[in-house]
Symmetry: C2
Subunit: 151 residues, 2 copies
């Protein structure tokens, strides 16, 4: 494959973010980490993913500071993968992916897993983009201001 | 390349969503569509993307019902790509990618484009996952309930 075009130095935060997390397996590994999975063998079993692909994605996630390698919680010689602060901050994105999937990728009567508030066992609110005063904003009510070229 | 593993029938809405939009170029095309880009040549110029890759991603976006092909707005013989309702519903995800990028992929003094409320010219609120009563939820306060196997 040709070397991947990167947006590491892009001035658009969406481009940089997409550059890091815009990958199917990587996002599913992060999803599993939020579900409490921490060991290589458990990621592999849950995702049905080839070892070499899982290894490379886990390495990338650690290199990006989204996961960190920690000693096994049971004191054994294994190590585990844990979400860092940067990784945990992807939670809202995973919620957004879930809600978009629920709204657009399932038939009305088709069963799917649900994300619940642990305390009340109720589903979360729908994510919404809001202005500084808390009013819901649609995409046509928001505009990107690009970085000015310095003269 | 081997055929891609798909999660089209997955019971997890995150897996189905990631299956559709978990791709770098596809997400950048959607970003550009939100920024008002609608023509092949403008996507190509803005993304610096090979024609064949752009074509395949646009075809995929149309097949998924995220973009639709519409007559050119200037009455010319060209056609344009417009976000459907399903596509516009990705707005909150793009906002989430942007905010995560802003928080974690830029130095404090590094310039980047900003997304503003058109009316007030102020940045949007930070997206947050909230429970049914509007309380902010962290990832550890939410749990996935899987679909029960039918007996």
């Amino acid at each position: 494959m040709p070397p991947r075009v990167t947006h590491e130095r892009a001035e658009c935060p969406v481009a940089r973010a997409v550059d890091v997390v815009g990958d199917r397996w990587l996002l599913l590994i992060v999803r599993d980490a939020f579900d409490g999975i921490s060991r290589f063998s458990d990621f592999q079993r849950n995702l049905g993913l080839a070892k070499n692909i899982l290894s490379s994605r886990l390495r990338e996630l650690v290199a990006q500071g989204i996961l960190e390698v920690v000693p096994a919680s049971d004191g054994s010689a294994y190590h585990e993968y844990a979400l860092t602060r940067k990784g945990r901050d992807l939670f809202v994105l995973l919620v957004g992916l879930r809600q978009w999937g629920e709204d657009h990728l399932f038939e009305d009567d088709e069963p799917h897993s649900v994300l619940l508030d642990v305390r009340t066992q109720k589903p979360l609110q729908k994510l919404e983009a809001r202005d500084a005063a808390g009013r819901v904003l649609t995409s046509t009510e928001a505009i990107v201001r690009k970085v000015q070229a310095t003269s």
